[in-house]
């Protein structure tokens, strides 16, 4: 690929226009925003509306090093970005040649645990 941004150059406008055509105004609560990821290939299979994924066993970490005068530093490093994931998700779509579109909210509540915790307390 001559320019690594070619997928976003070619398809960015189309994706944004589709989002704007379907954006809904909502009153109250956390407003939805959109996360778009373009796959690392020019052979695009389409746009997939998918949830946020999770790469298994992939975490940020640190690389420590010590300077010549004895001071200790840490480089923060990311994990492997090309781990295959099985769940239907943004990362799985991207690695299969799809542009991922994920609607998101800032509300981080784990709604599936609320009833259980209420019962426990």
């Amino acid at each position: 690929m001559s320019n690594p941004f070619n997928p976003s150059i070619t398809h960015g406008l189309n994706v944004i226009q589709k989002i704007l055509d379907n954006d809904k105004h909502t009153d109250g609560g956390y407003k939805v925003f959109y996360n778009v990821n373009f796959p690392p290939t020019e052979n695009i299979n389409g746009i997939a509306v998918v949830p946020q994924g999770l790469r298994p066993n992939t975490n940020f970490g640190v690389n420590p090093f010590t300077t010549q005068n004895g001071k200790e530093f840490l480089f923060i490093k990311g994990g492997n970005q090309h781990v295959q994931v099985s769940q239907k998700s943004d990362v799985a779509a991207n690695l299969s040649g799809y542009i991922s579109l994920t609607p998101m909210r800032a509300d981080l509540t784990a709604f599936d645990r609320i009833a259980e915790l209420e019962e426990f307390l």
Binding site: F33, V36, F38, Q52, F60, M104
Partner: protein
């Protein structure tokens, strides 16, 4: 449509130029404002300059750099640069590298879009996944 463009890779990043070209297809030049960090701010998430002021520098017509973070850029756009006629759309990116899966939680690109949504404005984060086919052609910022 008035559009605010920002990113976390910095005001000179190639992905921001991609976004500028896209924005010119959506509205006229006068309605496009670019407010981006002065340099690389990847991995800062939704960080804001809460404990120290952030410097804003006008580079040219409708183009500004911010010494702080991507979310600062959104706040600067809505509440300072464009306060008399705020943006109706915020585009953040195009990020150098993917912001899928757990990367979402670290990304300054996402942090800017999140701040835009909290301010009630339609916001889209855009990122370019790099792979074996494309990574070798990316210059470090």
């Amino acid at each position: 449509m008035r559009i605010l463009l920002t990113n976390d890779d910095g005001i000179n990043a190639p992905g921001l130029q991609v976004l500028e070209a896209i924005a010119r297809s959506l509205t006229n030049e006068k309605n496009i404002f670019i407010i981006a960090p002065s340099g690389e701010r990847s991995g800062v998430g939704h960080c804001v300059s809460y404990n120290a002021p952030t410097q804003i520098e006008r580079i040219s017509e409708n183009r500004y750099s911010i010494s702080g973070y991507p979310a600062d850029c959104v706040l600067a756009g809505i509440h300072h640069v464009m306060k008399d006629d705020p943006p109706s759309l915020i585009l953040s990116g195009v990020n150098r590298g993917n912001n899928s899966a757990e990367n979402v939680l670290y990304s300054g690109t996402i942090g800017a879009a999140l701040e835009g949504a909290l301010q009630g404005i339609t916001s889209i984060a855009l990122s370019q996944y790099l792979g074996p086919e494309s990574k070798k052609n990316v210059k470090p910022i």
